[in-house]
Subunit: 385 residues, 4 copies
């Protein structure tokens, strides 16, 4: 370990002691944080106006897994990979399992795709045609079977269904169909599997989206049962939405199932997490690391579109940003916060958060890496600098 790191770590340790924070607890927590990366994130993203490929991006699943393994090897915190069916469909899933084993990673969440097939032009499980609704259900049942192969704990559902024009669809019929079909899917899941229901304000539908808000996802998950929970994608809200409030609400209901981590400035921009509003990311982690939060089963998953950045580099950068937010959230003096909230000392309460946020946690992150035998400067190593 470099002398510089030792010194920086010791300095920070002293500084945190004044706030009754034991740096070792933070370092340990950081060492055990796990974030899932998605297979599709290793490919090149784009917009409806085009995609800019440079030829270096993997396009095939095994190549993507190799990138994922590289990321895990460097960061030590990304041991699992979410897959998307049918993008990642293979003939023999035991071969996929074997490949993952070889690479030292595992398959995580299974993501059905209900938005791409031509049959879904006018909706999947909300389609007026019962044959297409069945097709969509069958696809999700297939995904459950695939999930069983990997003992995957998460079936992660983004329902993009919606309409583009007034009058196009019947809101109530569609609602009924969503409930009916998901109920069927829910029943088919093994006990260890959870159905995570994502919501999204808009896009690709531009008039209405059937599951457009966390409230609908919550309502639906309650109707389905204990194994159904809500998935929060950070980019799926109207501007201004207080996401940390939603996170706290879902946690208190036992209904927060996981995250799609990214950042956004305008809409569902799918930028790298923490790139636009790192303070918001920190405030979300403040809720997650609250002592009352049971996050033992929570699925942290990255979901970004890498249009210009190199996907593998972007993934590593994101993991680092998440570590910053997470570590900072552990520096919040919870007792002092409780106390100042109690007496409505607005300014003092805020200062407690600001103090934690302004702390440079780089030494902790580096120490955690050092202790896990990882390189300190990930991007430099990746780039061979």
């Amino acid at each position: 370990m470099s002398e510089k790191l030792t010194r920086a770590y010791e300095n920070l340790k002293e500084q945190l002691k004044d706030s009754n924070i034991d740096i070792e607890n933070v370092t340990k927590a950081l060492m055990s944080l796990e974030i899932e990366t998605p297979s599709w994130g290793y490919g090149r993203g784009g917009t409806r106006f085009g995609t800019f490929r440079d030829g270096n991006e993997p396009t095939e699943l095994f190549a993507k897994l190799e990138e994922a393994a590289k990321v895990h090897k460097l960061t030590g915190i990304a041991p699992s990979v979410a897959i998307h069916i049918p993008w990642d469909k293979v003939d023999d899933y035991s071969k996929l399992q074997k490949k993952a084993d070889e690479l030292g990673i595992r398959i995580g969440a299974i993501n059905p795709n209900l938005f791409q097939d031509q049959e879904y032009k006018y909706g999947s499980i909300t389609n007026t045609d019962p044959k297409i609704r069945k097709m969509a259900v069958d696809h999700m049942l297939e995904c459950i079977e695939i999930g069983k192969v990997f003992k995957s704990k998460v079936l992660s559902l983004w329902l993009s269904d919606g309409t583009n024009y007034p009058g196009q669809g019947d809101f109530r019929d569609r609602k009924k169909w969503v409930e009916e079909t998901l109920s069927e899917v829910y029943s088919a899941m093994p006990e260890y599997m959870r159905l995570l229901i994502e919501y999204k304000f808009f896009e690709p539908a531009f008039y209405h989206t059937d599951i457009f808000s966390f409230g609908i996802a919550l309502d639906l998950s309650k109707k389905l049962g204990k194994q159904a929970q809500v998935l929060v994608d950070l980019g799926h809200h109207p501007r201004g939405t207080n996401i940390q409030h939603i996170v706290a609400y879902l946690l208190s209901e036992g209904k927060l199932g996981g995250f799609h981590l990214n950042d956004a400035k305008y809409a569902d921009d799918d930028l790298t997490a923490g790139s636009i509003d790192p303070y918001q990311l920190f405030l979300i982690f403040v809720e997650l690391t609250d002592p009352r939060s049971d996050t033992s089963e929570l699925a942290y998953m990255i979901d970004q579109s890498h249009n210009e950045k190199n996907p593998t580099e972007a993934m590593i950068q994101t993991l680092e940003s998440l570590q910053h937010a997470y570590a900072k959230s552990l520096l919040v003096d919870r007792d002092a916060l409780k106390e100042s909230q109690k007496i409505n000392d607005v300014l003092a309460s805020e200062e407690i958060l600001l103090k934690a946020f302004r702390t440079d946690v780089t030494p902790i992150i580096q120490m955690a890496r050092h202790r896990k035998g990882l390189p300190i400067s990930l991007l430099k190593v990746l780039r061979g600098e």
Copy 2:
């Protein structure tokens, strides 16, 4: 009846016959529509930058009721008035009842006020101080008692509670307090009374609002029970929100309790209903007049801030705009719509709505007035032109 109206009505009758619409049904429906106006809407509204009074606005309750009676006398569709406690607090509610009787109107929804007293600076039922939470509960219990005097069916709650800065409040404690206190209030209501829970995206709190979305209001109303429902204020959503979708969702859950009708371009602007987006207002009514919708108990209430328009004139103008939207919604060819939706004929479905919306329903509105013995041109009569 003028010859002109007779002719216009007959022409429209013929025209509608082609769409299988019996004009008489629309006219009759229009004659029985009832909209509640709020006492506070007869006073002068303003912004944080000031209020412009011209001295003609009533400031005292009985004078406001007289304006409300004038509005009802002219329009024939505003027989009840919502009151706000303590703004409309009186020593003897039997006198208020008597006054209303004399004026030919009745007292409608009771609106508690949890945002004005200095004690509520840091929240009412979410206050960390149990004494203030109790004060808020007591106030609502008092409102229930007042409501009993008038056999009021609606206790209409807007909870403005929220925080202005990160860290200021504990989301989970506050959630618990909201549930606890409202549960107590709920239990005290007589069987014929419903608790309508309003939600609002932001303002007057600028960091988080405890009941910020319809999903939270819905979740809460389900926890409380059958007599709790959601109140939709048209100006309380993030821009772009598909309110008609929310309306359909709540209707299908039996949880739509009522409306605060108004319009907005940027935030909670409290402009007169239909002034910014009359097509949206129409689309909301299309959901409300859907044959499956049970709106027998639905409370249509106006909630606007009249900053520049004369309040009484603005109220009449609003009622007229609502009649336009309502009547047009009854012109939708439901069978044809169902049919074109079924085959995903997006364009034809939309055209069915557009055809209804583009129809000029003025003759129906005027005929309904004529048949109820009301003047045809309300604003002219009001202005003595």
Copy 3:
């Protein structure tokens, strides 16, 4: 002409006479309205999540022109077609001219494409690489040459350039490059050609867009000179923006060059014009048909993405919606409006607009068609019903 239409037209004529509106002026105005359709609008649009083709959409330029000719033949108001280079690039533009002549249409605005080539991954005229900036300029110069073939009056520029992350680009260098390169392009235009500069709030760039607001487009057009003007795309604004105000502002500066007509609920949704907010469309036309507005050179152009609707049908539907908005704007009693504005009669002023908007102008539209020898029910004829 059907007796029904005659009667409806006569009835409306009488009705409008009361507002001092001569129906014949409206009908005549409607008969001479011209709207340009874009070649790309006849193809199938999509989102980044996919495109749903049904095989009936034309994919090749001449087939698109045939659709455009069909639309013009039916509507009588779409005599010109905007083209996009290189999408519509052909070897011999005289052949294209001949084809257009045969079809009874003409080539309108020329649209350069600065967002698709792989070289533009990090910007076109804002690229740090001078070679790529030159490539972009050369492309625009080529477009001017193509425009000369057709004596096209409009070079229509949408600059999608922007960045996705903080620090990615230098705002000031980029601004300088925009000004430098467009100045070179501007100088190469023949006198009869105008450069229309489009602005867009965001997308495909998600951190900053170089020309993100009408203010920047206006500033730039003033720097360039008289032949540079601003193009307003109705979907390119932050939610809530008062577009009619922008239209009036640009008109008063002589800087409104044209429109990309469409509608939007959330972002740049590219829905058919008037489908989401027909009142806003009307209010925009109220500014355009104001007696002070010089719109003799104004380019009305449709720019929509037809993801689910049949493109040709959608085009006809849009043209009809525009006719409704345009005709209604001509029913506004301008003298009465001026008078009531003068005395700050807010409510009366608004009612003047509402009266015009609520009028059903279908008989005028149908009469204009009849007089031009066109079918009355366009979509029925198109569908062969």
Copy 4:
């Protein structure tokens, strides 16, 4: 000086050396930063729903100045106070000058008020009544005279004028009146005075605002002349707006006159600067401290509404937040940034900014205070803790 601070400062010095940053330059820059506080910010703010006073807030000008002096004494960076006429109107401005002298502060920007007088109900300089337009002009001329007393360099104009309903006002007449009246005001300013023109998206007008965007303020300032510039209030933009881009644009045009510093989550929330999005505040300062930026005349002014926080405490907290953002912006390795931008290394460019932002600059801020003989922990001293 405490040993702890010495050590922290030395550690940071070493750390920054690695990025080629000389800490002493940052400390010196920080020592000379000056921010103006507004007299009205020492009073209690509120919303249209009410104001919560605790009786400790000063309500009278001299008492406010005493608070301002206290803030300057503690922070050393707030030597001037903006005043608002007529809120801060006094009979004898020489007495005010004397009071300021005694308190060791000076009077800064003069803010006319064009939104409060009852005459302005339907607009001030956009009023259809020429007498009221003249009244507004006269008020601004009076403000110039007051400014002369203090040799004030800034006449800071927020024009709240706008309309609430379609049809209410004539956009073009109003535009002409704005230009005419401001031209008159502009001519009356002494050479050393600048007219700063503020823009605002909406509120208190809810349909249109005459100067709603930076583009209009820029256009207007160019028409007026060299002494007219734009004032950027951080809370006056549509959500998502890239304010740092606007800042760079105005700087490159020589038209950035000053700031109203605050923060916002939803609308013009007037929260304390950096409380919602500290990264954005940093990115704005990155533009301001760019070597090309001439900010010698730039007016940094706070404009916040202290609804719950103690106003004096909130002011000190804000000044501290601004110091953090400013100091961090000085840590950006400009050469490296230029280099990585040149080769479109998006990720590396962003990391350069992140590195600066993540640095904890507390030791620099404290050292600057120490060297100016100020207390280290301002809020503790203020609270007497």
